[in-house]
Symmetry: none
Subunit: 225 residues, 4 copies
DNA sequence: GATGAATGAGCTTTCATTCAT
DNA sequence: TATGAATGAAAGCTCATTCAT
């Protein structure tokens, strides 16, 4: 048995025991991916407790036995899934950051807009919900999520900020902290309220406005003047 | 065909049917409170799905039947609990705001510090996790939480900001948005990372530093000069 | 607000979704039959509400999980059982009708006797009790019971009556109504009283007497003279 | 404790222990009637298992404690109720029989019609369902029902038949059996089918037709010619 | 006598996991 | 390796009955 259903304390999933990518042959990987695809649909819709292994098996088109050939238990499947999903979600945000032939304010506004839109996507929103909800049970998960999603965004932006500071366009002591502030400011109003399922204007115009204010605020805080 | 346990759509709990603050007699209230206390311990530790009604009964020292005499179903108990908890959690934050004979920067720094400390408390942290996780299933919950916790903090701060702007100490177009930005900035680094269970310096000094930076940032954005 | 266990209205079990007589493989059918056998014992003894799924599982020698692998819910198991039982119960009655080289009165007396004996069997009696008791909750059940049991008997007898009328041995306007009257007359005294658990002579002789009177009555009502 | 919830064998309620009518003071009787009225509504709508003591208490406007002051257990309350209800239900049927200044056929047709209408009433129908369903568990109940309802009707009609036979209008060997046959014939088609919740024409015309056929049939079987 | 809060066994149903084929 | 039938613990919830007030 892998795990008790309702663990009294922490539910530790040692991700180091996951079959790592390099040692898997192709056929195995294909089936594994098939399972992960099915799992993604369900976990991101219904959460961890709301998804049953039978559902995953059906959705993925494999038997329950096969499921357990590839993943030792539900928690491990979940971990593997979040690992896979987190990686791809915020990619377009920091790709945006690299297109940096524009002035600071404009770039930041575009990044802010991309960030807001990404965070509002149903998948991302659900991912955030799940990670925050299950972070205590799956501490490694949050770590993975941070490293592959938020963390990457922050360090990418921090690098960009340091670069612009070097050029004299910004004046920044701690680029990482500044980047973190920037991402927090992005979440003002729309993202934050949407997380609480509160009614809020999520129109294009509203998003652009928050993005603009965020960019302007950042420039006020860290601009060269 | 057969009754589904997990409804596909929303699980609406009409909180207006909760025994409200009418004149419940003392005995009734005492037992009710006893149940809520037990429920708090468990729900705030293990989340909604992770807590069973049997556990709550045992923890509260009552029988399952008694549980259901006071609350129609698990969802309603949960709702009532969150309602009760949310109310008390952020109270000290906005009480801090009213002690306003100090200069802006100092007041804001104290508010930021109180906010950070509150959000870092295990209960608050768990409350945030649960609300975000279950907001889809319990839309009214998030609403309550917002109205009694975050919402109150924001509008209290917004009022203070408007007041200081009237005095000429701040220059602010949209006091509510400014307040929302302030609270987002409070969550930079420590709170945010703690939510993801990432290692982060949560020392007094670290908290004071983030509070100071937050206050300074706000003043840069909205100060009279 | 919360999910009610007992719906106020009808409990519809769409029997068309029951695994029908398709080509179920042998193993599946064997286990299914094993469950139905256990269910028959209990439901026919204790009725629908008086039988629990745990009891059925124990009686059938399977786990509760297995029960639910074969039947979606208690109502469906019950429906499937009644469907299976109803079919076999009255078969020997209408088989009796086909042996028709005898004169009318003798044939009818034999049919009446078979009918009375069948209706007095503990299983049939209990089946009648259950169907009548649960007809409101399971309208399709009564329908099935009628179509496979009483209905078949009536239409078989009605055909026989029409045939004899064509031969000039009977004079009948409405063969179906005549058949219905015949079956009601069969239930006079012994069957009726037994249904109410009243003391009544159920001896062979008594049965033969009622059968004879029934046959004679029918001939008086519909005989050629 | 009065009775186990799910009795393994028979559920005997010794009705001789019911507080008999003469020894009860007025106040007590009033409350008792109040309870029985509430119980009638529920038991006749939802059956024995489908009715809870809490519901009865609420419907009757008394506390559960009071319920148990007047009736030792659910089974006894149910017994007392059926006893009370059965008595009143078929009264109008045999009252019809006494108005006997008409010719046989007409009287019988009126009695048949009254009988059919009575049996089709929702209360009577439900009473029949309940008695038949619970007869095994409550053997005394069915006895009571027979003695106060069906039995009275039969013996009243049998007396009338004997009287008319003495007048030479009928030729009957066994008036009781003839009466039983008459009541069975009344149940042909409409009543029988309605018991199985099958669709059937329950119009005034249809009822009159069955009543007429029943009367004619009886006259054919037992008329003076 | 009347109340209704409290009890706890029992109900239907779900689901992670195993294992014979 | 893949299957899916089988398991059984545990879930949410009900209800006849008791008893302190």
């Amino acid at each position: 048995m892998c795990l008790r259903r309702r663990p009294p304390g922490q539910l530790l999933v040692n991700t180091s025991t996951l079959p790592s990518d390099q040692t898997l042959n192709a056929a195995c990987t294909a089936k594994r991916q098939q399972i992960l695809d099915g799992a993604a649909t369900l976990f991101l819709h219904n959460g961890y407790e709301g998804t049953s292994m039978s559902q995953v098996a059906r959705e993925a088109g494999v038997s329950k036995g096969t499921l357990y050939n590839y993943f030792d238990c539900k928690a491990q499947l979940f971990s593997a899934l979040i690992e896979a999903v987190a990686e791809t979600k915020l990619r377009n945000v920091y790709e945006r950051i690299h297109s940096d032939d524009l002035d600071c304010a404009t770039t930041l506004q575009r990044v802010a807009e991309a960030m807001i839109r990404t965070l509002l996507q149903p998948d991302s929103m659900m991912l955030y919900r799940i990670i925050v909800a299950e972070a205590r049970k799956f501490p490694l998960l949050a770590d993975i999520f941070w490293q592959r999603a938020f963390g990457v965004s922050i360090s990418t932006l921090a690098d960009w900020i340091a670069n612009r500071a070097a050029r004299g366009e910004l004046v920044v002591d701690d680029p990482v902290f500044a980047a973190e502030q920037f991402f927090m400011l992005c979440q003002t109003r729309i993202v934050q309220r949407h997380r609480f399922e509160l009614p809020v204007d999520k129109s294009d115009a509203a998003i652009k406005t928050v993005a603009r204010i965020t960019s302007e605020s950042f420039m006020k805080l860290n601009g060269a003047h």
